[in-house]
Symmetry: C2
Subunit: 385 residues, 2 copies
C-alpha cells in the first residue's frame, strides 16, 4: 500500500455526469479522488461528448429509473459498503429523486454506526442568476437537504435553496444560517463567492453547525485567476471529500454523527476549515498551471488563427479552441493534489462587513445594510450540463 | 508537470465498458493510463453495476449509433487529436462496426504523418473455448484487423481470428504468423497463454511483423497466481499503451509507420518486448498484493460466513464475497505501476517446443506434433461482459 496517501482506504459512490473529452463531473472528480487513494464507484448520470462550455454537445442521459436500477444492481451483489457519497449533476428532477433515494438508503444502512456514512451534495442548478436545469429541480433538491451531511452550493444555488438574496457577506451569512436552521444541514461550503468584482479576490465561505443550529462561519480568500475554467466545482468537491475525511480523522471525529465538531471548537479550527484550506491550496496551483498552459497553447495557435479569422465560422472555432485549451491540467499535476502547500488561511467572520470587505465609499448603501453589487461571478462551478 | 511520468502528454481515446463497482474495462484502463500521465477520453460502451464474474448485473448498453453520435460530438468540436486509441469490449457487432469506423477515421486523419496515430485493439469475444458475444461479432472484428496496429487477443480469441487451433507453442506461432500475413497486423500479443496446466506458469507471446510479413516471436513466462482476477486483460492493455509508447520513443520509432522496428531488430530487442516486460512486472506485483489482500479479507469474514452457511443463499453470497475480495487493488498501488522492476525477461522462440515447454513423456503426441492439452485457462482476460 502506498504510504503517501492522505486517507486510509475510503469507498466513495460518485454520482455525476461523464464527459468523454475534458474534465468536469465524474470525469474530474473520480480521478482526483482515486489519485488520493479512494476506491471510487462512478455512477454516471449522463454520457456527453464534452461539457457545455463548448456550446455544443452530443450524448445520452440516464433516466431516474436507470439510475435506481444500477443501484439495485449494486445492492443485489452487496456492493454498497460506501463510506461517502458524492452527488453532483443530475439531468432531471426525477434523477435528483433517484439520487435522493440512494442517499437515504445508504444513510439508513449506517444509522446504527455514527459517522460511518457521509453524504456530500453539490446541488447543481445554475450560476450567476441563471438556472440551467428545469425549474422542478429546485424543489427536488430542497427535498434532499435534510438528509445530507455537507452541501456545496455556489452563490446562486445558495440563494435558491435558502430563498435569501446574497449580495454581501451579511446576507451570505444569513443564507448559511437559514440552511443550517431550516434543514439541519451539518456542514455548508458556499464555493467561490465574488462580492467585490474589482478586487481580484474570490472567497469561499464555510460553516459547521452548532448544537443550537447557529453557524460557525469561516472565510478563505484566494486571488481570482483571469481564465474561464470548467469542472473546478467538481474538483473542489472531490478534494473536499478526501481532505475532510483526513481532517476529521485527525480530530478523531470519525465516529461522531455527521462528523460535527463539539460546540467549543471555533470556526477556524473546524476540520471543514482545515480541509478547505488544503483544497484551495491544491486548486490554486493546478489552475495557475492550467492558465499558463492555456496561454502557451493559444500563443502557439496564433499562426493558424490568422487563417481562421478569414473563415466563415472563425469565431465559433476560436471559441472551441480556447475552451479546449482551458481544460484543467489535472492528470499530470497529481503531486499538487497530494502535497498542498497551504498559503490562504481560514479566518472567522460573523457576517458583518469587515474593513477589507467593505465596499468603496461611492457604492450605494442599501436599506438592508449591504452594498449594491451588479452581479456575482462564479468561475469555480461545474460545467457539465 | 510531473517528471516521474514515463511518457510525454499522450492523448488516448479509450472505448470499452464501464462498471460502477470494481475494475474492468474502462474502469480499469482509464485510471491506469491516467496515473501514468495520459490524457484519456473514455467513451463507455456500456454502464453496468459490476462485472460479469459476479454472475448478476444491471445497467445499460450503448448502441452502435450512440457510439457514433458521441464521436460526432467530439469531431464537431475538434476534440479528436488522439495519439492512440485503445478499444476493448463492444456489446454487439454493430458496436464493433462503430468502433471500426472511429478507428479508420482517426487513422485517415493521421495518414500523412507516420506514427502519429496508433490503434490498440483488444478483440473481446470469449475465453476458454466459449464465446460470450454473439457469433456475428467474430466476423465484425475480422473486418477491423487490417486497420489496427496492435491486437491483444487471448488464446481463444487468437484461435477465432486466425482460424488456427492453438494447443502448443508451435501452433501458437502459426496463429501469430497467419494474423501477420493475412491481415498485415504490425504487432500482436497473445495474452496469458497456459499450455502446461500443471507447470504453474503463464506465458505471454508477442511479435512485431517484418517487411516480409514473418513474425519476430518472443515469449515471457510469469508464475501463475492461484486466484481468479477480473479486468487483468484491461490492465494489460492499458499498461501496454503507456509502456509501448515509452519504448518506441526510446527506440526513436515514433515517426515510423505503425512503430515497426527495422528488420534487423531481433525479437527480444523489440520495443514491444521491452514494453511487455515492464507491463508484466507491474502486473505481477499488483496481482500478488491483490491476492494477499483477498486472502486477508476472506480470513476476516470467516466468522460471518459460518452464519451464512446456514442461510439458503449462502453459496451465492459466498461467491459474491469472494469476487468482491478479488477486485484488483490498483488505486492504492500506483507506485507499482509507475516503477516496474523487471524480473521476467523476454526470450526469443521459433515456435518449436523447447525442452522447458515440452510436455511430460506420458502426454500423447498428436499427428500435428503438438502435445495434447485438455484446456487452456486464461486468468488474465477482461471480464466485463
Amino acid at each position: 500500500m502506498s504510504t503517501d496517501l492522505p486517507v486510509p482506504e475510503t469507498r466513495v459512490l460518485a454520482i455525476a455526469s461523464h464527459v468523454v473529452y475534458g474534465y468536469v463531473g465524474n470525469t474530474m472528480a473520480v480521478f482526483v479522488m482515486q489519485s488520493l487513494g479512494c476506491e471510487v464507484a462512478a455512477l454516471n448520470t449522463v454520457q456527453f461528448s464534452n461539457h457545455k462550455a463548448y456550446k455544443q454537445v452530443k450524448g445520452t442521459i440516464a433516466s431516474g429509473e436507470e439510475i435506481r436500477d444500477i443501484y439495485e444492481g449494486l445492492k443485489q451483489s452487496y456492493l454498497t459498503d460506501f463510506d461517502i457519497m458524492l452527488s453532483g449533476y443530475a439531468p432531471s428532477a426525477e434523477a435528483v429523486g433517484a439520487i435522493g433515494s440512494i442517499g437515504r438508503d445508504l444513510k439508513l444502512k449506517g444509522i446504527n454506526k455514527s459517522g460511518s456514512f457521509f453524504w456530500v451534495l453539490d446541488p447543481v442548478m445554475g450560476d450567476q442568476g441563471r438556472l440551467y436545469v428545469n425549474e422542478d429541480v429546485v424543489p427536488a433538491y430542497k427535498n434532499l437537504l435534510h438528509d445530507t451531511d455537507l452541501i456545496l452550493p455556489n452563490q446562486f444555488e445558495a440563494e435558491l435553496l435558502s430563498e435569501q438574496k446574497i449580495i454581501c457577506l451579511d446576507s451570505l451569512a444569513e443564507a448559511v444560517t437559514v440552511l443550517h436552521k431550516r434543514y439541519r444541514i451539518p456542514h455548508i461550503v458556499v464555493t467561490s463567492v465574488r462580492l467585490e468584482e474589482s478586487s481580484g479576490t474570490i472567497s469561499v465561505v464555510g460553516s459547521t453547525i452548532r448544537t443550537d443550529s447557529t453557524p460557525r462561519l469561516f472565510k478563505i480568500d484566494v486571488p481570482a485567476i483571469d481564465c474561464f475554467f470548467s469542472g473546478t466545482g467538481d474538483m473542489f468537491a472531490a478534494l473536499t471529500v478526501v481532505r475532510l475525511r483526513e481532517a476529521v480523522a485527525a480530530a478523531k471525529l470519525g465516529s461522531t454523527r455527521s462528523w460535527i465538531s463539539p460546540d467549543d471548537v471555533e470556526a477556524t479550527d473546524l476540520p471543514l476549515a482545515r480541509a478547505t484550506e488544503k483544497v484551495l491550496a491544491s486548486m490554486q496551483v493546478v489552475l495557475e498551471k492550467t492558465k499558463t498552459a492555456r496561454d502557451e497553447a493559444l500563443e502557439r495557435m496564433s499562426g493558424p488563427l490568422g487563417t481562421l479569422e478569414r473563415e466563415r465560422d472563425s469565431e465559433k472555432r476560436l471559441h472551441l479552441r480556447k475552451t479546449k485549451a482551458a481544460e484543467v491540467r489535472v492528470v499530470r499535476n497529481v503531486a499538487d493534489l497530494k502535497e498542498p502547500k497551504v498559503v490562504f488561511r481560514a479566518e472567522a467572520f460573523d457576517g458583518k462587513e469587515s474593513d477589507d470587505a467593505r465596499p468603496n465609499a461611492e457604492d450605494i448603501e442599501r436599506d438592508d445594510g449591504c452594498s449594491e453589487k451588479e452581479e456575482v461571478n462564479d468561475d469555480h462551478k461545474e460545467e457539465s450540463k
